[in-house]
């Protein structure tokens, strides 16, 4: 790079050391940065004392994850029933789960949370995957089965 100083003399800036520094910084950043963003999912545990001064919801909903990718949606309260959702193509039928929860949400507008429980052998990945699906319809998900 060629510049002219105030005194009229030509000054050459040596870019080579700048390139050296940039190469080192870029290499360090490439090595240390992760391009997969990590975030968090909010969860609580379905245990303990209910919050004071809050009316109990019309229905209490529990989704149980069973072995062999089957799910059971339990509804207790004003309506009481148990719906089993079998696996679809060897995996969790999340579409059917969403339909079930959307139907419940439409009937009971005060339904704002549910409990998600799983059998002991169900993997964390499956729990998180189903939790993610449930949260699209009912945002507050508590972990149960304790």
């Amino acid at each position: 790079m060629h510049t002219e100083s105030t005194s009229g003399q030509d000054v050459d800036i040596n870019l080579a050391p700048i390139i050296d520094c940039l190469t080192v910084i870029v290499t360090f950043l490439l090595a240390s940065s992760s391009f997969l963003a990590i975030g968090v999912l909010d969860a609580g545990i379905a245990a303990g004392v209910p919050a004071p001064n809050t009316a109990p919801p019309s229905v209490i909903v529990t989704v149980e994850l069973k072995d062999a990718q089957t799910m059971v949606v339990k509804v207790e309260g004003k309506e009481s029933r148990k719906t089993e959702i079998p696996s679809k193509d060897g995996t969790w039928d999340q579409e059917r789960l969403t339909q079930e929860l959307t139907g419940l949400k439409a009937r009971f507008s005060d339904l704002s949370g549910l409990t998600l429980a799983a059998e002991e052998t169900v993997t964390y990945e499956d729990v998180v995957r189903n939790m993610d699906t449930v949260r699209k319809t009912i945002p507050a998900v508590l972990l149960g089965g304790f």
């Binding site: 870019l15 080579a16 390139i19 870029v26 999912l41 545990i45 994850l65 964390y124 729990v127 972990l143």
Partner: protein, 174 residues
């Protein structure tokens, strides 16, 4: 850099001197490096949560709900459980030793570690008003961990006041 300079540099990509040496025009290279540096710095700064999972921990994918977070971290891998990067309990293929589990499902060794962390927070709170016992716990677990182990960890934490759980996941929207 102005358009005229850019145009000029296009035609001066290399310069051959009288003795045959080829000199690279490194001004353009400096431009590119600067752009890469800015991009990397931006990527570096946009990470929501300061969590670095161990190499053997593969987090599950999900849509995230939380932003920046500083809380006690517990990491569950195939061979053990770490609290704040300190190994506290041993696992055999993701499972606790049955002798280590109490009747309420909590792990004895893990409960001791959580108790120690809680005591530390209480002690700090006595000397510093800004430090208050925090109920938040970030769970950094491998996707293959069975729910039995997750339950044991959460039960151990809950008995010592950690009830606000945050599950660390890879953001599938990113």
């Amino acid at each position: 850099m102005s358009y005229s300079l850019r145009k000029k540099s296009k035609f001066k990509r290399s310069a051959v001197t009288m003795n045959g040496d080829v000199g690279l025009n490194i001004t353009a290279m400096a431009d590119i490096f600067t752009l890469i540096l800015v991009f990397l710095l931006k990527t570096y700064a946009s990470g929501a949560v300061a969590i670095t999972p161990s190499a053997d921990v593969n987090l599950p994918l999900a849509g995230v709900s939380g932003g920046h977070l500083e809380a006690l971290k517990v990491e569950i891998s195939r061979n053990g459980v770490m609290v704040e990067s300190q190994p506290v309990a041993t696992l055999a293929e993701y499972l606790f030793d049955k002798k280590d589990l109490q009747t309420n499902g909590a792990s004895r060794t893990l409960a001791q570690a959580f108790d120690k962390e809680r005591q530390r927070q209480v002690l700090l709170g006595k000397t510093n008003d800004e430090v208050k016992p925090d109920a938040r716990l970030v769970v950094v677990a491998d996707r293959k961990v069975p729910y039995a182990t997750i339950k044991a960890v959460l039960a151990s934490a809950a008995t010592h006041g950690y009830t606000d759980f945050k599950l660390a996941v890879f953001d599938k929207n990113n």
